[in-house]
């Protein structure tokens, strides 16, 4: 018995060592390229940072930078609240929309492959500078014509679609309402690529026997959705939620991030870091709360 144990223990320890071996490359990189910079940036946010040729000088300044960001910076709080508000209402819309589209794309109809290809297209474009131009963030180049172009593009979208279809002469009020919706539809459609793919993957995990059973029992599409589809996709709602929120960080339309970058280019590193950390902390807290709540209600079939 004891000899068996003696043999078993080194084996386990050996396996653990191999585990470290597998992750060691990543661990080294993470310390250098992630953890140290992360701690540095946290330190900057509490410091007065002076840029000298050759080095950065830091001097502890307490909460001054945070107070500056929240009280004195003329744009930050405004941008912060509007960005957070936008994330707040856009995220659920993106989730609902992508689930809806995934359900549709999961049905059998002619041209489905093409439809899928079109709806996944944002996945390859929406993270790049092309999207920046498409969505009309041209402030950097200060190009007024480009701005005009982008307004034309976003507001006249539905108008043009209507003209395209041969519908003219809607009332002005109707037009403004439609264009407001259209403006957001564009943002929502273009930021749902990955979410649609993930939901679709979840939908394809539903066994066909469930569908057959529901049909034999005479379930309506509505009942089918809530009793069968929805429970199957709930685990993905959380993943998609987190993905959507993180994606909003890198969106070229994110005003808070743009403000931070602006300060950075003015060499105000302390202020920029403080702002980034406030924003990040709020979002992280929100993700934490949602994850906690969702995990209480979601049933995971597979761990």
């Amino acid at each position: 018995m004891s000899s068996k144990k003696a043999r078993k223990l080194p084996y386990q320890r050996r396996k653990a060592l191999y585990g470290y071996g597998f992750i060691s490359l990543w661990l080294v990189g993470t310390v250098i390229f992630f953890l140290i910079p992360l701690i540095q940036s946290l330190r900057y946010s509490f410091c007065e940072v002076k840029v000298n040729p050759g080095s950065l000088e830091t001097e502890f300044a307490g909460l001054k930078k945070y107070i500056y960001a929240l009280n004195e910076d003329q744009y930050y709080t405004e941008y912060l609240s509007s960005t957070l508000l936008e994330t707040l209402w856009k995220t659920p819309l993106i989730l609902i929309f992508s689930l809806f589209i995934a359900v549709i794309l999961n049905q059998k109809f002619r041209g489905r492959t093409f439809a899928r290809a079109v709806f996944f297209l944002p996945v390859i474009i929406a993270t790049g500078p092309v999207f920046k131009i498409i969505s009309g963030d041209m402030s950097k180049t200060g190009n007024t014509g480009a701005q005009r172009f982008s307004t034309m593009f976003s507001t006249d979208l539905i108008g043009e679609l209507m003209e395209f279809l041969g519908i003219y002469g809607l009332s002005d009020k109707m037009n403004t309402m439609i264009s407001a919706v259209a403006d957001n539809i564009f943002g929502i459609v273009w930021s749902s690529g990955i979410q649609i793919i993930l939901f679709l993957a979840a939908l394809q995990n539903i066994p066909s026997s469930a569908r057959e059973a529901a049909e034999v029992e005479g379930a309506t599409a509505w009942e089918y959705f809530w009793k069968i589809t929805f429970p199957y996709v709930t685990p993905f709602i959380l993943a998609n939620f987190i993905y959507t929120v993180i994606d909003s960080f890198t969106s070229p339309m994110n005003q808070v991030m743009n403000r931070i970058l602006e300060l950075k280019s003015q060499w105000d590193f302390g202020e920029a870091s403080a702002m980034a950390w406030i924003y990040f902390a709020i979002v992280l807290a929100a993700i934490g709360i949602v994850t906690f709540i969702v995990n209480k209600f979601v049933y995971y079939e597979v761990d």
């Binding site: 653990a16 191999y18 297209l121 500078p129 005009r148 993930l198 979840a202 993943a239 987190i242 890198t250």
Partner: protein
């Protein structure tokens, strides 16, 4: 309900003689009210829904395709057509000049070569290092694993903007403090080093995908290899990688796309190296410099759109080509790659 047996008798006798329609009618008579309502509703939805669906898909598809259609429409017209109010979609003067000029201004072929080498190089090493890490997390238990995995999650959550600045000084004075330091800014190592060590663009997500994928693979595969005397590392190379080929391809494709699209990290670390994304971001000044030999040249902003859209078009053309050819791996790969569950 009382006359059902009678009807049953009748059908048993005459069922062969009745036409299909009459038989159906008889069948309908026997149904309850709820069943009838269900059938009626079903037939209505079955007829209406395809139209509704087509309407939604075409409408939203238009929203997605609009910028692309506009791009194509702009890139092949003369700049004068932009100010011509009669030109909406179809250019009056079809021309390839704009494309040619944009290619020239962006130094496109050289830029493309640099970008492709950088992208594919980084992606290959990053996919490999992330797979190693993911495998380590999936199959081995060691002390501190939970804490280390929390760091992986943090890598996903922390926006690059937060760490880009200290990272810059890290690369500017790369080395051991007091011993030596090299300036890595503008060197391609600023891309390769993080990629090799599994810290490149969105590597947290990739590690997570690989971990989930390897956890879903049957343990018997490795056990068999171990019994045959294969060490863990060789098992990973010889057994796991071949079995995970399709998921490797998917992650690799996404990695190429993310590197291709990245302009944030590259603007931070590169001042001279040219990637497609950077050139597109700076297209305005490049245009003025190379086409008009004058940095302060005044181009009618409305006409400048022509070049901008042409730039966008040639910038995403390689991605689009890859997407069209490998669409299956983009979309179905994710389902198999095990991010599910």
């Amino acid at each position: 309900m009382a006359d059902t047996p009678q009807a049953a008798v009748k059908t048993a006798d005459e069922i062969g003689t009745l036409s299909r329609k009459e038989r159906k009618k008889l069948h309908m008579q026997k149904m309850t009210k709820e069943e009838l309502a269900y059938l009626r509703r079903k037939s209505v939805t079955d007829k209406v829904w395809p139209f509704f669906r087509a309407f939604i898909l075409i409408g939203l598809g238009f929203v997605i395709m609009y910028p692309l259609i506009y791009m194509v429409s702009c890139a092949f017209r003369e700049r004068g057509d932009m100010s011509d109010p009669t030109v909406m979609w179809i250019p009056r003067h079809l021309t390839l000049d704009i494309i040619r000029e944009t290619v020239q201004a962006m130094d496109f072929w050289n830029t493309l070569k640099t970008t492709l080498v950088l992208n594919i190089g980084c992606s290959v090493v990053q996919v490999f290092s992330c797979a190693l890490t993911g495998y380590g997390f999936a199959r081995f238990s060691f002390r501190g694993k939970k804490l280390l995995f929390v760091i992986v999650i943090m890598m996903i959550l922390v926006p690059t903007q937060v760490i880009s600045l200290p990272l810059y000084s890290q690369f500017r004075y790369f080395g051991i403090k007091g011993l030596f330091s090299i300036n890595l800014i503008d060197s391609k190592l600023t891309m390769y080093l993080p990629a090799i060590t599994g810290n490149g663009i969105r590597s947290g997500l990739m590690i997570l995908i690989f971990r989930q994928f390897f956890r879903g693979m049957p343990k018997e595969l490795e056990d068999a290899a171990y019994i045959d005397g294969c060490g863990p590392f060789m098992t990973f190379i010889r057994v796991m990688i071949p079995n995970a080929a399709s998921s490797f391809l998917t992650v690799f494709l996404f990695s190429v796309v993310w590197y291709w699209n990245d302009y944030y990290v590259s603007t931070t670390f590169f001042t001279n190296t040219r990637t497609v994304a950077l050139m597109l971001t700076n297209l305005d000044s490049e245009l003025k410099l190379r086409l008009f030999n004058n940095i302060s040249a005044n181009i009618n902003p409305r006409e400048a759109i022509v070049w901008k859209e042409a730039g966008c078009l040639i910038c995403i053309a390689p991605l689009l080509l890859m997407y069209v050819l490998l669409q299956k791996h983009f979309t179905e790969g994710i389902e198999r790659s095990g991010i599910v569950g």
